[in-house]
Structures are given as structure tokens and as C-alpha cells.
């Protein structure tokens, strides 16, 4: 009970902090829109390529874009935490009886909410371009984004607490997120990739999320790959939360 109450308090706090800085809100929405407008049109001509999934360029591209949004959005959250560490806010919270899980979950829920809202905006904006969403597709999609948000932001917080400085956090994030992105089939479907690349991609949990997301947007909503993707993302979230909460409860020396 106390944990839920504390989580809610933390969630409110971090939502307020986020909303007080409108720049983040604008950037958060603008980024996916730029992909939509400046990158997606390139795909139009590729849809004829052998191996490109059927369903139209936007139904193939937008699901991947949303997964990317989740990955990038979540991996940057550690910067705010490092600033708070420096300001002494985290130490102040750790002296109070607040639940250590809440210190993590309150923030992560804020991150999930912002990701889900950004995803909805992106989905809506993609419709005039030629996206044909289904209701179940949207729900599965948002579920995937939320799970990625929870898992990846928890891991990002754990890394931020361990590294304590932007100077080491930023390189880590960039080094890890780029291969994760490239090996997930976000930009172009992995069906187009040579076999060796496909094998490496199988080790990347995000590739399953991308596959699941494309399936539900292209009429394969009942495919086992969809459940597989959701299950793997749920496992990622559980691992992330456990690692993150452990970090929050340990002394930050």
C-alpha cells in the first residue's frame, strides 16, 4: 500500500517536472514527426522490393518507429537523474522512509506515460500519410511501447546511478542504443538483411518487439510472434525493474 502511495507521489512529482519544461514536450513530439515526414517517404519506392512485407510503407515503418521512440526516449532518462543526484535530491529522498521501489517506479511510470502519449500523437499524424491502424493493433503497440519504456528506462536509471556523471553515461547510452536499434529491424525490415545479420538480430530482444509490432499492423494479429514479442518485452521490464530498484536501495556512496 505504502509502495503504491509513494509511487503515485513520485509519479506526480516527475510529471510536474517534465511539464514545467515545455522544451522536452515539444522535442518529444517533434522528433517522431520528423521521421514521419523526412524519412518515411523514402520507403514508398522500396515497397516493390522483393521481400518487403506487404501492407504499405507506413504500416511497415510506423510500428518500427514507435519501438525506436521507446528505445531512445527511455535511454535518455538517466540525464535527469544524474542532475538530481548532483542537486542532492536523491540523497534527500533516501533519508526519508519512502519505498525504494517507488523511487524507481514513480519515474518510470512518468516515462511510460510520456512515451504512450507521444506514440498516440505519432499514430494519429501517420493516418493522413497512409497508415491504416486497427484498434487491437494500437493496443498491442502501446503495450509494447510501455513495456520497453519500463524496462529500458529502469536500466537507464540503474546505469545513471552507477556512473553518476553525464561524461560516462552519455557514451554508454550512445554505444549501446545504436547497435540495438540497427539490429532490431526498426528502419528497414530484417527480412531484407543477409542471413548472418538476421542471426545476430535474434539476440536482440527489441527485434522481437519490432516483429510483433509489424505483425499486428499488417493483419497477423494472432500470430505467435506477437505473443512472443510481448512476453520478451515483459521479461525485459521485470529484469529492468529488479536491477533498477536494487540500485536505488543501495547506498549511493
Amino acid at each position: 500500500m505504502k509502495m503504491l502511495r509513494d509511487t503515485w507521489l513520485m509519479f506526480q512529482r516527475y510529471l510536474m517536472v517534465f511539464l514545467r519544461n515545455p522544451a522536452w514536450v515539444v522535442i518529444g513530439v517533434l522528433q517522431p514527426v520528423l521521421y514521419l515526414v523526412l524519412f518515411a517517404p523514402l520507403l514508398k519506392s522500396l515497397t516493390e522490393t522483393p521481400g518487403f512485407p506487404s501492407g504499405g510503407a507506413y504500416n511497415v515503418f510506423v510500428p518500427g518507429l514507435l519501438i525506436q521512440l521507446g528505445l531512445f526516449g527511455a535511454s535518455g532518462v538517466g540525464f535527469g537523474l544524474i542532475a538530481e543526484l548532483r542537486a542532492g535530491v536523491i540523497e534527500r529522498f533516501r533519508v526519508t522512509p519512502v519505498s525504494r521501489f517507488a523511487l524507481l517506479l514513480g519515474r518510470a511510470l512518468r516515462d511510460i506515460l510520456t512515451l504512450v502519449v507521444q506514440s498516440l500523437i505519432l499514430l494519429l499524424l501517420a493516418i493522413p500519410f497512409g497508415l491504416h491502424p486497427t484498434v487491437s493493433g494500437v493496443f498491442v503497440m502501446l503495450g509494447l511501447v510501455a513495456l520497453i519504456g519500463l524496462g529500458m528506462s529502469s536500466l537507464a536509471y540503474a546505469a545513471a546511478l552507477a556512473l553518476k556523471s553525464e561524461d560516462s553515461y552519455a557514451p554508454l547510452i550512445f554505444t549501446l542504443s545504436l547497435p540495438l536499434l540497427l539490429l532490431s529491424g526498426v528502419l528497414l525490415p530484417l527480412q531484407l538483411a543477409p542471413e548472418w545479420l538476421q542471426h545476430i538480430a535474434q539476440a536482440n530482444p527489441l527485434s522481437y518487439a519490432v516483429t510483433a509490432a509489424r505483425d499486428v499492423f499488417n493483419g497477423h494479429g494472432a500470430d505467435p510472434d506477437v505473443f512472443k514479442g510481448l512476453a520478451i518485452m515483459a521479461a525485459l521490464a521485470v529484469v529492468g525493474v529488479l536491477v533498477g530498484a536494487r540500485r536505488f536501495s543501495r547506498a549511493i556512496a
Binding site: R13, V17, A87, G88, R92, T96, V98
Partner: protein, 314 residues
């Protein structure tokens, strides 16, 4: 209120181990202002962080606010407030929100937290800035907010880590006033400082800490009395070495040091020593620039215990 026994903290790093706190025994009484005086790096912050549940001790035992620190940290947290050296508020959040948030984390409902925040905003004179983001605060306002955050839940024990470092003299005087008010309402205050005047003027009892060890403990008066009766400070234009040489051998001088062109003579009774000093210097024909009679300061205590001046060490 606080009892520690052989409290230790060793930090291990690639370069080796640092023994930041090397066996501290303390007994802080309810309702007193207890000061931890020592130079930078002495182990003050590390001790405070252990006592406030932030850092697990390497060894030793402690009871804080009636609970065992090692086995009942959760209980300790409800009873204490902690104001860190670095500050505690987020730059983009208004002070009032920070206060309310803090109260809520200790289980207050919204109305109670708002009420308590208003009390503290009034008491700490933060009304002008309470609804602005804390990044716009002056140093004094920020520090007062930190104290307010630490006091939100009416703790019976408040830890203040260097509460006045970096403040201008006026804000410092203001802060002293707040700390004394806390004692008046029965709150125990454990503060650290590297300012001699602060420890002297504000604290009921002091522990002097150096290299992780307590080197002296008592009321400011007791500590100073241990050093010697009085200190006579003799100033000459440029003959301080000669003066030192002449006076060191006098039977009424217990110890003598020289620094900044001034000779400090530790004597039993200043009133009788002064005329004798004058006579000696007169006989040698050394002109006197200044002569003053002082009670020993806490720096004299530190000097005697460690062989260094706290003013240089800090």
C-alpha cells in the same frame, strides 16, 4: 539521542583504502546543539551520512533517536531530518512543492502537508520566493529551504552538514538564529562546521575531529580551559622573532608561538603577565605596536591537539 561505539568507515578504491572515519565514540544528548568541528576531509560528512542511514558503517555500532542504526534503519528515518552539504532541492521545482512533497513522503495527507509548509515558509521567511523555482533563490534562501525540508516532519533530531558554508555574514547570523530556535522547541541538532566562531557561538558541546578521529570533546569553555589560562598577543613592527626568543624563557610563559608577525604567549594569568611582558620589552628597547589579552580560542585547542591551525587546515 545519539550513541556511537567505535564507528568506522573505510572507502576502498583502486588507489587503496581511505579510512574516512576511524573509530568515533559519541554521546549526543537530547535537546542540545552538538557541533562537529574539523577541517575539510576530516570525516564529518561521512559520519553524518552513516548516522542518517545513507551509508552503511564498515564496523561499529550506533543508536540514533532510540533505534539501532544497523537493524532498524527504517524506524530511525521517521525520527531524523538530514540537511546535506550540497543542498536538496531540484532547480526547476518551487520551494513550496518541495516542502509539501517531503511532508507527503513521511505520510502526511495533503492538507496537513500544505499547512505545515505554510508554517515553515512563514517561520523561515520564504514567502517571497516559495512559489518560484528554486534555481532563482539566493544562497541564504536556498539554505533556509533546505532546513525547512529537513524540518517538515518535525523530527526530534536534525543533522545539518555545514549549514553556513558559503553564506554571507548576515545569512549566517540568520541561520544561527534558526538553529537556536530549534533548540528552544526541544529539537536536538547535530551540525558540522569548519568555522571556529560558529562552533564557539552556536554549539552547546563540540567534538573536534581530525583524520577521522575525535581529538577533543566538551563544551567550548571546557575545551578552551584545557589549553591554558589566557593568551597574550604581542605585536611589534618587525621584531617578532626577537620577542619570541626573549619571552619564551620567562617563567610565567607556558608556551609561545609566532605567526603573521604576532607572538602568541600562553600564560596562566594574563593580568599579571602583561606588566611583566612590558617590562622585558622595555628593558630591551623594543617598541610595541600592539598588545592584547585574549581567552584561548578553539583554534588554540585544535593547534594543541594536532600541531596545525584549523585556519590553515580548512
Amino acid at each position: 539521542m545519539i550513541e556511537t561505539h567505535n564507528l568506522r568507515k573505510t572507502f576502498k578504491s583502486r588507489k587503496g583504502a581511505v579510512e574516512a572515519v576511524a573509530g568515533v565514540d559519541l554521546d549526543v544528548k537530547k535537546g542540545e546543539i552538538f557541533g562537529f568541528l574539523g577541517p575539510n576531509g576530516a570525516g564529518k560528512t561521512t559520519t553524518l551520512r552513516m548516522l542518517s542511514t545513507l551509508l552503511p558503517p564498515t564496523s561499529g555500532e550506533a543508536t540514533v533517536a532510540g533505534y539501532d542504526l544497523l537493524h532498524n534503519a527504517a524506524k530511525v528515518r521517521y525520527e531524523i531530518g538530514y540537511v546535506s552539504q550540497e543542498g536538496s532541492s531540484a532547480p526547476e521545482v518551487p520551494g513550496r512543492s518541495e516542502l509539501i512533497m517531503q511532508g507527503r513522503l513521511y505520510g502526511m495527507n495533503k492538507a496537513r502537508a500544505q499547512q505545515r509548509a505554510i508554517e515553515l515558509i512563514t517561520a523561515l521567511e520564504l514567502a517571497d520566493c516559495a512559489d518560484r523555482a528554486t534555481k532563482t533563490y539566493s544562497g541564504g534562501q536556498k539554505r533556509r529551504l533546505d532546513i525547512g525540508i529537513g524540518l517538515m516532519h518535525l523530527p526530534q533530531l536534525l543533522f545539518l552538514d555545514e549549514p553556513t558554508t558559503g553564506l554571507d555574514p548576515q545569512s549566517r547570523a540568520r541561520m544561527w538564529e534558526e538553529v537556536r530556535k530549534l533548540r528552544d522547541i526541544g529539537t536536538t541538532v547535530f551540525l558540522t562546521t569548519h568555522y571556529l566562531e560558529e562552533a564557539d557561538a552556536l554549539c552547546d558541546r563540540i567534538a573536534i575531529i581530525d583524520h577521522g578521529k575525535i581529538v577533543a570533546l566538551g563544551t567550548p569553555d571546557e575545551l578552551k580551559r584545557e589549553v591554558a589560562g589566557d593568551v597574550v598577543v604581542v605585536g611589534t613592527d618587525d621584531a617578532s622573532d626577537r620577542v619570541l626568543h626573549l619571552l619564551r624563557g620567562q617563567p610565567f610563559v607556558r608556551e609561545a608561538t609566532v605567526g603573521d608577525g604576532l607572538v602568541r604567549l600562553y600564560v596562566d594569568r594574563g593580568e599579571t603577565a602583561m606588566p611583566q611582558i612590558l617590562r622585558v620589552l622595555d628593558a630591551e628597547g623594543i617598541p610595541l605596536a600592539s598588545l592584547s589579552l585574549n581567552r584561548p580560542s578553539l583554534d588554540d585547542v585544535f593547534l594543541r591537539q594536532t600541531g596545525r591551525s584549523l585556519r590553515d587546515a580548512a
